[in-house]
Symmetry: none
Subunit: 234 residues, 2 copies
DNA sequence: AATCTTTGCTTGTATATACAAGTTGTCTGT
DNA sequence: ACAGACAACTTGTATATACAAGCAAAGATT
């Protein structure tokens, strides 16, 4: 099934930027020009541009035009990385415990997060990821089984949910939020921390072409984990 | 001059959420209902809702409706944003207290962070940023006075350090790390939180063409602030 | 040569309309 | 009581059109 027209336009623009057709501060075609080129309305072209402005890829000014912004994302915080790869890239040993792997009907909050109906069956997995024997992440994840019907059949001792999902429903989009929390006693025990110890909690929603695939809640002990990112303007 | 209609609608919705008319996960009026209520087109109402979704205030699902997301403040991880602009974009009032603004020789950790010699003079500023009267960020910043000699002459009640630095030493690069911490009693008091409450701490180093300009340590109450980001892959 | 006006382009805001797709509730038939 | 169909509601995508506001270039005037 074809992507919406505004998504095609976005992808075209991003491709041109990444290929170096337009460099930093270059002017991109106007709304009218893109409408002509793609055979669509100016409002549809405008939506593509507007979303790229929201994402920091473009900047625009009334009367002047639309230009390539200079900021590029780099670094692990800014990309969706596989926790196993992160740990191994640090030269450490990665271990995982699969705590839970089951099918259940979505409650209201899961349904909203995944964009499915309340009661729709979703896959729920809970994994404890460790680095050199010490827990660094408790991963609670809900997956849309309509899009990934074999999710629960996987052996997550052999590959992480992220690895599997990257194969069967490659990411096109992710949204995440990071907050500082104090966790409940059970979570503290799993992570092998004192209960008052602060944790980083990352809520991450990911999409593939077919829709919202996964909603994950990742909890990291504050003492053992930090997120990093490096932005370069070129 | 009146604000655009879509902005009025946004402000109305935000006001209702803040007043507690709608709590977390409450359903908000549909596009059609808002169009009727505000005497505008569905597309105008839709724009207001869409922007609030982009800002993380609302979440929506086709066929189900639009719901209130978490009420916590959000910062962007993908862009280096000015805290004053973040607060104002949420439709809130921004306040600042300048707690400290002085010149001092760099100790070892500051020297390393800024890439200057130990003992080199740096500018140190400490500001408390608030949103609608509530502290959301304690900013401790060290600035390389060799690159920004007039930094300490600025009035940071009138413009934030970020605004000033953007003018005189535009960013070319930034590195930041996010962690969850428990702060000391003094910081807890400044942020108006209990001492055991977790905080997000962002360490941010920024460069301009001439070198390392600034090192900032930003502390946010976990209960009032979260970072968000949206990535698109192709 | 300088200045002003006009024109053409751009983005910004807005409305009306249409159809697609998803969800939920109601009604009917078994 | 249950299942299926249908209606009504929702959000999602799209087009056409119109006017506002900002900017820059070209042309006219001094």
């Amino acid at each position: 099934m074809a992507a919406p027209k505004f998504v095609e336009i976005k992808q075209h623009l991003i491709a041109n930027i990444e290929r170096g057709v337009w460099r930093e501060h270059a002017k991109v075609p106007s709304e009218n020009a893109l409408a002509g080129e793609f055979g669509c309305s100016r409002m549809t072209a405008r939506r593509a541009l507007t979303e790229l402005v929201e994402q920091g890829v473009l900047v625009r000014s009334q009367g002047q035009g639309t230009f390539v912004a200079s900021l590029k994302s780099q670094g692990s915080m800014l990309n969706i990385r596989n926790i196993a790869d992160e740990v191994r890239d640090r030269g450490h040993d990665y271990q995982v415990q699969v705590l839970e792997q089951l099918r259940l009907p979505a409650d209201a909050s899961v349904a909203i997060a995944l964009g499915v109906a309340v009661g729709a069956e979703v896959g729920q997995t809970r994994l404890l990821h460790s680095e050199d024997g010490q827990p660094v992440q408790l991963e609670l994840r809900f997956v849309n089984l309509a899009l990934v019907p074999d999710y629960l059949e996987q052996d997550f001792y052999r590959q992480t949910p992220h690895e599997y999902l990257s194969q069967v429903a490659p990411l096109t989009e992710a949204h995440h939020e990071v907050e500082a929390v104090v966790v409940d006693a059970k979570t503290a025990s799993l992570l092998q921390i004192d209960q008052g110890e602060p944790c980083l909690r990352i809520h991450r929603r990911t999409w593939s072409r077919s829709g919202t695939v996964s909603f994950a809640r990742l909890t990291h002990p504050g003492s053992r984990y930090r997120l990093g990112g490096h932005l370069v303007m070129d």
